[in-house]
């Protein structure tokens, strides 16, 4: 299981701020595909990913027990 924290507009698109996913081990790219298949996110490709509070690149590995934050572009000010 991993915990995915959604911020800003992603919450409205998923209708929740936290998703628990049965995910054993895989790359950020793989996780993105799963997320996109389950929810109708409009800006996932433009979002930043962080694994356990560290910025993650596409090939970085997410493991069961990790907390992943997904941060979409926010421009309000």
């Amino acid at each position: 299981m991993i915990k995915v924290l959604l911020f800003a507009q992603l919450q409205e698109e998923a209708q929740t701020d936290v998703i628990e996913i049965d995910f054993q081990e895989g790359t950020v790219t793989e996780l993105k595909k799963i997320l996109q298949s389950q929810f109708d996110f409009s800006q996932l490709s433009e979002s930043m990913f962080a694994i356990n509070e560290a910025y993650a690149l596409e090939h970085d590995v997410v493991k069961s027990g990790d907390t992943v934050a997904v941060i979409p572009p926010v421009s309000g000010g």
């Binding site: 800003a8 507009q9 701020d17 910025y55 926010v74 421009s75 309000g76 000010g77």
Partner: protein, 337 residues
Amino acid sequence: MPKLDRYNRQMLFKGIGEAGQRKLLAKQVLIVGCGALGSSAAEILARAGVGKLTIIDRDYVEWTNLQRQHLFTEEDARNQIPKAVAASDHLTKINSDTEIIPVVIDATAENLESYVQQADIVIDATDNFDIRFILNDLCQKNKTIWIFGACVGSSGMTFTIIPQKTPCLDCLLKVTPMFGATCDAVGVIGPAVQMVVAHQTTEAIKLLTGADDDVSSKLMIFDLWHHHYQTIDVSKAKQSQCSSCGVSPEYPNLAYQNQTKTEILCGRDTVQIRGKKFSFSDLQQKLSSFQNVQENAFLLSADIHDKRIVFFQDGRTFIHGTHSIEEAKKLYYQIVG
């Protein structure tokens, strides 16, 4: 009372002290944007005793701003005072020691550079990515630290971008977003604004008082409604080939300058046209047959059927009530001929 005494509670704080306070009083901060983030950051920094604040904003105070934009009053909205001017008037009453320079312009790569060069640090209080990427290039080019900030809903984030040290905005957002969520589209609550500003101004005060070692190297993101707070180590995002902060920078947002004369103000149901400067007296004649004509020292506005047109002294015009550039231009040329 002697100049320093009013800052007593800040000088008592060990991280600042009297030496730090003296530094603050001699420093200059550029605040780009004077909406929610900008007005609050300006208030905190003016109260703290920053020597000089330059505040740039292209807009005027509207009723829907008052819910979250500090400093502004109902009278400012009633009189459609430009935000930079309204902020300046209020700040002067709060701290007459701080020099406030209000600048009512639409910031561009060209007109922004000299302000960046004069500033010790820059606070990002803008509301769109176009201007943030320009700011990113300008700050890298001039080796100026800027503090990115943004908020929407009950969320917000901030990151201090230090040239030659941290990743820049281009590194972080490898794909330039077409748009980001705006307050005008999905709303925002006042406390989320204050949370971003609390972090931006703390980092600003550290930098201005010489407490550089205490500056956060992390990107902070939160959601106050759902109780999330993360501080993310983004050092890995720095790219040596970045076109803005890399080894051979090209500053693409300055080079290929956006020449658009007309743009839709995101989520505002408003189109901005950059045109010729007209005299307000000429315009007033042209508007004489329309309803609800209002004028102050900075702008002239009128209702044209179901839309509202606002002329600024620098040649910009807002057409409220449409997001069609075509429709806005048609109306504009109906008036200016």
